[in-house]
């Protein structure tokens, strides 16, 4: 197998080779670092490449040779979004502002190291996780297009095989949007399932940490390592952690698919709509049926997430605002951080009341269905200089459109995954979103895997 072919493989294919000593973690890490050097001048997905990755790979190799194989992530090169604290690499949160962060590992970073993963670098992100563009990162499928955001560096790096998997964070869609636009898998588990300790805050009750991967099984393998209670995170759940790979491959005949025509299907790009409708038809044949549901209260969702996200972000940045440091922020981010100061306390609390209403609606929905299936984004990757998109005869800001279908699952904290489901007429990837009940990650992954197995989307890679 050539060096390129090795670099393109997912964890599920690499791990058995590493375990059997057919593939050396050091060789794999070197191949990946070579690719970063060769291709990242164009893709610009990394902020910093680790100086300790080779030493970690050597250690992994030695451990495996001496019989201390730790599991599927041992020797696998993983990239980390630049809002996770790391002990051996600086954290900038995508900002040039004079703020500094400690050199310690976030809980999730520590868990990856304990699982034997090789952390090869930190990936670019939209400043302070506040946007869906991630300059200067480019989309590997079309370098004139954005990778999405805010975990755009992670999405681009996974799609371009500049790492085998990556960590991202998701406050309104920031794992799933770049996954959709870059043609990767992106998983946001239930709020509280993955520790956020050591992940720089954007909005306390909306932030989620999670993986971007090449396949659904890889996402399950990452979640196995990342999930679990962490006393350092007040929102961390004590729910037991199952083996998320266990149910993959089981029939989904016992599951019902829910479709919400309003909100999720009423304003999508025609190619996206076609691809997702086809995916729903296919899932309908494999599953135990499709049930059409309605969530009329979603029309209030944008106001609610604005109130919570803006107010929380401004509260987090209060100290920087007092020092006038927002002058160093990018103009779009500065505006949003300042705008949060205009959200009133009553609007914030109203939004928190609304979340209970939406959760009650979803509880009723999930009495008749097991998962909700939607497009991840109503549009595919847009041009770097594009600010609006025409959908259904109306112009809409690309930023407003891009998170419309993802943020409901941040307001509700429900698990949601984005998987590739085709390409548009410009050969830009299209994402399919599957969401489930609280802590039903196994069901979400099982449905995603059933769909993935029927297609070869994961075999298609961008030519760099």
């Amino acid at each position: 197998m050539s060096a390129t072919e090795i670099a393109l493989l997912p964890i599920e294919a690499l791990a058995p080779r590493i375990e059997k000593l057919e593939l050396s973690p050091l060789e794999l890490t070197d191949r990946m670092l070579d690719r970063v050097q060769k291709y990242d001048r164009t893709i610009k997905s990394y902020v910093v490449v680790s100086q300790t990755a080779r030493a970690a790979a050597e250690r992994a190799e030695r451990d495996i040779k001496e019989g201390r194989y730790r599991g599927a992530l041992h020797g696998i090169p993983v990239a980390i979004k630049d809002n996770y604290l790391t002990a051996d690499m600086p954290t900038t949160v995508g900002s040039k502002a004079p703020v500094s962060f400690p050199l310690v590992d976030a809980t999730t970073v520590r868990r990856l190291r304990e699982a034997g993963a090789i952390l090869i670098g930190k990936t670019n992100m939209h400043e302070f996780a506040w946007g869906n563009v991630t300059p200067p990162t480019r989309n590997p499928w079309n370098t004139n297009c954005v990778p999405g955001g805010s975990s755009g560096g992670s999405g681009a790096a996974v799609a371009a095989s500049l790492c085998t998997a990556a960590l991202g964070s998701d406050t309104g869609g920031s794992i799933r949007i770049p996954a959709s636009l870059c043609g990767t898998v992106g998983l946001k588990a239930t709020y509280g399932r993955v520790s956020k300790s050591g992940v720089i805050t954007h909005s306390w009750s909306l932030d989620h940490a999670g993986p971007l991967t090449k396949t659904v099984k890889d996402a399950a393998l990452l979640l196995n390592a990342l999930a679990g209670f962490d006393a350092k995170d007040p929102s961390s759940s004590t729910m037991p952690v199952p083996d998320y790979t266990k149910a993959l491959g089981e029939s989904i005949k016992d599951l019902k698919i829910g479709i919400c025509r309003t909100h999720f299907f009423d304003r999508n790009d025609a190619d996206v709509q076609r691809a997702v409708e086809t995916a729903v038809d296919e899932l309908a044949r494999s599953a135990g049926g499709v049930v059409e549901i309605n969530l009329p209260n979603l029309r209030y969702g944008l106001g609610a997430i604005f109130a919570i996200e803006l107010a929380s972000s401004s509260c987090y940045h209060e100290k920087n605002l007092e020092r006038g440091l927002q002058r160093h922020y990018q103009p779009d981010v500065r505006t949003l951080v300042e705008v949060g100061k205009f959200v009133t306390a009553t609007d914030y609390l109203k939004a928190e009341q609304y979340r209970r209403v939406l959760m009650a609606d979803l509880r009723k929905v999930f009495e008749s269905v097991d998962v909700l299936v939607t497009p991840t984004t109503p549009i595919t990757a847009w041009k770097l200089d594009q600010s609006t998109v025409r959908i259904g005869g109306e112009d809409e800001s690309v930023l407003a459109a891009s998170w419309r279908l993802t943020y409901p699952f941040n307001l509700t904290g429900l698990p949601a995954i984005s998987i590739p489901c085709g390409f548009d007429s410009r050969h830009a990837p299209i994402g399919l979103q599957i969401a489930g009940k609280p802590f039903a990650e196994e069901t979400v992954l099982r449905v995603a895997y059933a769909y993935e197995c029927q297609h070869d989307w994961k075999e298609l890679v961008p030519s760099l």
Binding site: A231, K341, F342, R356
Partner: protein, 68 residues
């Protein structure tokens, strides 16, 4: 914050974040706020007076976490 105008925003900025804000920044804030507040206004239409916010104060949990 019912009436959004460059004048009202400029007047509030020093109070809210301790800075006099230059005119182009005020315009950016007004542009962003207009769209955001129209969505928040929709939310205000809902009568949720009998609904408790989803984030509920839990003194026992907070107390125990304080111990850690």
């Amino acid at each position: 914050m019912e009436k959004i105008s460059p004048t009202s925003v400029a007047a509030l900025c020093p109070q809210l974040f301790g800075l006099e804000v230059e005119r182009e920044r005020v315009e950016a804030l007004v542009a962003e706020l207009t769209g955001i507040l129209s969505e928040i206004h929709k939310l205000r239409e809902l009568d949720l007076s009998e609904v408790a916010p989803v984030v509920v104060f839990d003194p026992v949990r907070a107390y125990e976490e304080g111990r850690a």
